[in-house]
Symmetry: C3
């Protein structure tokens, strides 16, 4: 089970990093910029959650595996792919991985916040924050209005619904594994539906 979570976490981090690499390259950054933006995108949400809740050390500090992984990913993507997203199946793959990561990070944010004694509503907000804030920082650095705040296909909303699914399952069954999986499935399914049918918020 732990391996299952670890695998999804890695998939999510890689997907988040790839979106950072993509945006950074569009802005003509060099490898330093690409690598920095990939790390900020992948680690930003979890780091903000941990700083808000005073949890130390941050997860990417303890092990340098992820930082080295993203360095390799950045170099490979700069050296080989003209544009890693130009092939259609790649772009779809990244969107799917990104949705998986969004679900997992949302669950992990809600879980950590709840254990730290936050109310249910604040826990759901910190779930969303964990899922989306890396992308917000990515867009700020790339000098864009954050994608997630714009009137586009549901994104933060999926994380919000997923976080509440997590809180509901954990509250009724106490089963962490079931709650995390429920959150991932709900977030992922809602996000895929939103992309497929171009679902937006009415407001």
């Amino acid at each position: 089970m732990n391996t299952f979570i670890k695998t999804i976490e890695m998939a999510g981090i890689i997907a988040f990093a790839l979106t950072g690499i993509y945006e950074a390259r569009k802005k003509g950054m060099d490898i330093i910029g690409v690598y920095s933006v990939s790390m900020i995108t992948a680690f930003g949400g979890g780091s903000l959650r941990d700083i808000i809740l005073a949890r130390h050390p941050l997860f990417w500090i303890e092990h340098d595996g992820y930082t080295i992984l993203l360095l390799v990913l950045s170099i490979v993507s700069m050296a080989t792919a003209k544009d890693i997203f130009s092939r259609k199946y790649m772009a779809t793959g990244v969107l799917a991985l990104d949705a998986l990561g969004l679900g997992l990070f949302s669950a992990s944010g809600a879980s950590v916040a709840m254990r730290a004694g936050c109310t249910l509503f604040v826990s759901s907000l910190l779930g969303v924050t964990t899922g989306v804030f890396g992308g917000v920082l990515r867009d700020i650095i790339c000098n864009e209005i954050p994608y997630v705040f714009q009137r586009t296909e549901l994104y933060a909303t999926c994380a919000f619904v997923g976080a509440w699914a997590y809180l509901f399952v954990i509250g009724t069954t106490g089963n962490e594994v079931a709650a995390v999986i429920t959150c991932i499935v709900v977030t992922f399914a809602l996000r895929m539906l939103a992309i497929r049918y171009k679902i937006r918020l009415p407001l």
Copy 2:
């Protein structure tokens, strides 16, 4: 007395949130963006102060009242008002509430910093930071150069003078209530004068 402070705090948070809602709507954000920017504007300054001074938990984490209040405010403003600031008396009201909040947050920042052992000057800077940083984050997210740093009517200056008024009264009388009220009155009066007579800094 505590009720008095609580009332002003709520007025300030609502005013800060409204300026966030206003800017976010101008940028065409949906409800997720509007709600996020309203929270970042209202909670940003106090959160930065607490993170700098290692005070936990952050004030909006402990109680979810404020986060729910801003959600309601965001939904209502999106659902009803074409532009909540378009009526002139609304805009004036928000400016006045904003000035009240600026004074209170400036006092609270200086107070917290002083108790944490900061020097007087650093305490005054953290008072200003608490008062203005939410607006700085709002403008960065909306992809604008922060209003408060531009050559406009006095804003941070009012918080700075107010913070020193707080530090002076608390240092000479030790009376927290008197010091907070003095700070609010000084900040509010200076800000209103600055708007009325278009007062700017000479430099």
Copy 3:
């Protein structure tokens, strides 16, 4: 020896602050904006490092000497110089001081991270972060894509190489003074060469 480090630290802080003042003035900010940006540029990298590693109090909080120094610097630069960088030898001087500061902050970041138990690679990343993040924040506030992420003369790379030089010397000799000086010399020399010969990264 301690005096030597203190002198370089002050040179670096002044240089970082001057680049902040320069950018803020280009954007037409008033003294509040100029002073704020100078502080964020000078203190941003070290503050982020300390927040990531949960080190408190932040270095500029303990003593208000630096905050007052930057206030004086901001006022003087606003009051006297039409453009402090317009004279060529001034611009060169600031670039040189900035490279000195980059080297010192990079060493201090790597040193603090290593003592906090980070791995070598994460320590080198936090060295770079300490050296460059103030400038990243400066550019974000000034609504620019961070200079350090763009395809320009080596900057973060110099800090990265310098941080590894620090880690190599401290690891082999255990001599902190020698390690810091090596880092400063390596970073400074590489940065000067990069400017002189317009060296950029191949990727």
